[in-house]
């Protein structure tokens, strides 16, 4: 036993695969990719666990050690992880993380991704506006703000109070604000300080001279038990990436449609942080699609198989004990109403991230259709036939095997078919917890606003759903006599 434990430990140590997490948005991918390539360049294997569905998923994954490092923002840590209501210093954040979670935080990578106010550079220069305070002299300027910014605690109301601004903001969709700015319909809008548009449209970010906005400085989070060598590698990134630079990187991915792998390695090379010439991650697209389709199918089928072998016997038990029918259907129905993404999030503390929790979630989703159809199918067998079976002296098991189950099978099969189609769809969400599959294309595509990439995942997923339908149609033809098919 001890031998195996040691073997396990050595296996663990020698592998030295560092798992780098990423949140599913543009900047998240870029920073994580920079971290990944930097670690790889120092001779380690890196497993990229990208597309993680938000702060909660990332941080839980880090806590339970299924991810070794991921980039985060100090403001997010303070608000969402430490639940702090006041501004706290980076030192304080770092201390609390260490005390509460055994997690360490690197120094700032160099940029602050906060809210800010932006305007066209030409207009700012003309009016000689450099900071937010300068706006006090210009109450007439047209300002358009996103709905979110108008509502936030650290949004317009308090900002106007702090700076004593008299501007009258119009509300508009954030996506449209940049366009309105380009067309000079408005002169000022709110923005994230690292938005690629700032670089692309040559916008000017007004200085927050009263330090109103909370700081969202990019840092790396990692376990305190992480190898010291890796920690020192991460240190190399500190202060290396300023706002202008990250705006540029964001813009090259979002607007020049560059691959974020390439953007990351170009940056590292420019900074002299890569020792080797880049290990290019050229992936042939259709092989990538096939491999992700494979993962997708694997997730779908394994979960479906378990659901079949669980739900059908459960359905039979319920059928034999009608008093529990309602209760069981209620409980299973309740599971179905939990939004998939929430179910995945709930599962993280118990099951971590990756394939297992995805399988569990898919399994739970597949249960209801199969269970319900099994019960209904068995219940709807003609009572006269049940009577005849009994009169003939069939035992309960014989009756089930020879009469009820075969007669219920078209119904059960259609339940399985429904479950399989649900699973093909839901499995795309598995990408959020790092289980892979076609969802990776979709999530990444959505984050990068890249339609081609979304379709790369959506089309095979839709095809899979159709193939599933056909497959079960065929199984029906093969198993069920023609006159009994639904």
């Amino acid at each position: 036993m001890r031998f195996f434990f040691l073997l396990f430990l050595t296996g663990f140590c020698e592998a030295q695969t560092i798992r780098v997490g990423a949140k599913h948005f543009n900047e998240g991918y870029i920073i994580s990719e920079i971290i990944s390539q930097l670690i790889e360049d120092n001779g380690y294997e890196v497993e990229r666990v990208y597309n993680l569905g938000g702060t909660l998923v990332c941080f839980e994954a880090l806590k339970i050690n299924t991810v070794d490092v991921y980039p985060e923002y100090t403001g997010t840590i303070a608000a969402e992880i430490l639940h702090s209501t006041e501004k706290i210093s980076n030192e304080e954040i770092s201390k609390q993380l260490k005390d509460q979670f055994q997690i360490e935080m690197s120094g700032s990578i160099g940029f602050n991704n906060s809210y800010g106010l932006v305007m066209l550079r030409s207009f700012a220069e003309k009016e000689n506006i450099k900071s937010i305070s300068d706006l006090q002299q210009h109450p007439e300027i047209a300002i358009g703000l996103s709905y979110e910014f108008l509502k936030r605690q650290d949004g317009w109301d308090n900002l106007a109070k702090t700076y004593q601004l008299k501007l009258q903001p119009a509300a508009l969709e954030h996506g449209l604000a940049y366009e309105a700015l380009r067309d000079s319909k408005i002169k000022i809008t709110d923005a994230y300080t690292t938005d690629g548009e700032i670089a692309k449209d040559n916008l000017f970010l007004l200085k927050d001279n009263l330090d109103f906005f909370p700081k969202y400085e990019a840092v790396s989070l990692y376990s305190r038990h992480l190898d010291e060598k890796i920690k020192s590698i991460l240190k190399k990134l500190e202060g290396k990436l300023n706002e202008k630079e990250i705006q540029q990187l964001n813009a090259s991915v979002l607007f020049e449609k560059k691959n974020f792998n390439d953007v990351a390695s170009e940056f590292l090379k420019k900074k002299g942080l890569l020792k080797m010439t880049t290990v290019s991650h050229e992936v042939i697209i259709w092989i990538d699609i096939l491999s992700k389709t494979g993962t997708h199918l694997k997730l779908t089928f394994i979960a479906l198989l378990f659901a079949i072998f669980f739900a059908i016997p459960l359905g039979i038990c319920v059928y034999w004990n009608p008093s529990i029918t309602k209760l069981i259907l209620y409980v299973v129905g309740l599971l179905q109403t939990i939004p998939s993404i929430a179910l995945l999030a709930i599962a993280i503390p118990f099951l971590g991230i990756g394939t297992i929790p995805a399988l569990v979630a898919l399994f739970l989703y597949a249960l209801l259709p199969i269970l319900r159809n099994t019960i209904t199918g068995l219940q709807s067998v003609d009572p006269i036939l049940k009577n005849v079976s009994d009169g003939m002296g069939l035992t309960r098991t014989q009756r089930l095997r020879w009469i009820e189950f075969p007669l219920a099978s078209p119904m059960i099969l259609s339940g399985i078919r429904t479950a399989s189609v649900i699973n093909v769809g839901t499995a795309t969400l598995a990408a959020f917890i790092g289980a892979g599959g076609l969802g990776e294309f979709i999530v990444t595509g959505l984050a990068l606003n890249n339609t081609q990439m979304i379709l790369r995942g959506a089309i095979p997923a839709a095809l899979l759903a159709i193939v599933m339908e056909l497959l079960f149609e065929l199984i029906g033809v093969w198993l069920i006599p023609k006159h009994l098919r639904a």
Binding site: N387, V388, G391, G393, Q398, W402, H483
Partner: protein
């Protein structure tokens, strides 16, 4: 050896009495027709005898021993059960329908295909039908399959619940004759529920008339027709004569 004997059998569902204090013995290897209006308790009586229903009170003896409700499987091996039209399993071929009682009660080696052939002959069913599904058969053919199935284990008791109800008169006539032939070659104790007096007259040695769960009259067929005991029996007979 009395095949079927009921002693003070009462059956109630909630407050409603379906069968009321019935005591009766059926004759060995004779055909008894059970007659009565709808809801008189005929079918309930049959279902009591093969244990599908348990009497609220009273005792049912099959071959001199009371029904053991924890081992109905064995009891039913001795009792064939045929019901009107709908009793065939739609997902099984004719052959599998007929062999099913064998599958339930015998080992593989004990199931004899000769029996199947002999039974088909007996009810004049062409052999090519055995691979067909029930829905591909006519009503008369289905009925014959049902009888073959009930007889497959050669049970000493045969219960038939309106077995010929759904047939046209010509087919019914043929099956009646086959039934009589069958009973001559291998007589067994048969209870046949019907509301057709003419059918009863033709097939049965004895007749039991029940109404409202109570015995109106029980006796040899001829006697019943000659001396109806109650108004109800008389009414039923009149319908038959009409």
């Amino acid at each position: 050896m009395k095949p079927i004997k009921l002693v003070n059998v009462t059956h109630r569902i909630d407050e409603r009495t379906i069968l009321s204090n019935l005591s009766i013995e059926f004759a060995d290897r004779k055909v008894t027709a059970i007659i009565g209006k709808s809801g008189s308790g005929k079918s309930t009586l049959l279902r009591m005898i093969n244990g599908l229903l348990k009497p609220t009170s009273g005792i049912i003896n099959i071959f001199n021993s009371p029904i053991n409700y924890s081992n109905l499987h064995t009891l039913r091996k001795k009792i064939g059960y045929a019901i009107q039209g709908l009793g065939l399993f739609p997902h099984l071929t004719v052959e599998k329908n007929i062999l099913l009682p064998g599958k339930a009660h015998l080992t593989k080696n004990e199931i004899n295909n000769d029996t199947l052939i002999r039974l088909l002959d007996l009810v004049s069913l062409p052999k090519h039908l055995i691979k067909k599904y029930p829905y591909e058969l006519s009503g008369g053919e289905q009925q014959r399959v049902g009888i073959c199935r009930a007889l497959f284990l050669d049970p000493p008791i045969l219960l038939m619940d309106e077995p010929f109800g759904s047939l046209d008169p010509l087919t019914r006539f043929d099956i009646h004759n086959e039934f009589i032939k069958l009973q001559k070659t291998a007589p067994r104790t048969v209870l046949i529920v019907t509301h057709d007096m003419r059918e009863a007259k033709k097939l049965a040695n004895e007749i039991l008339v029940i109404d409202n769960g109570m015995i109106q009259q029980f006796g040899i067929t001829k006697e019943i027709f000659e001396n109806p005991a109650t108004v109800i029996v008389k009414e039923l007979l009149m319908i038959a004569e009409a």
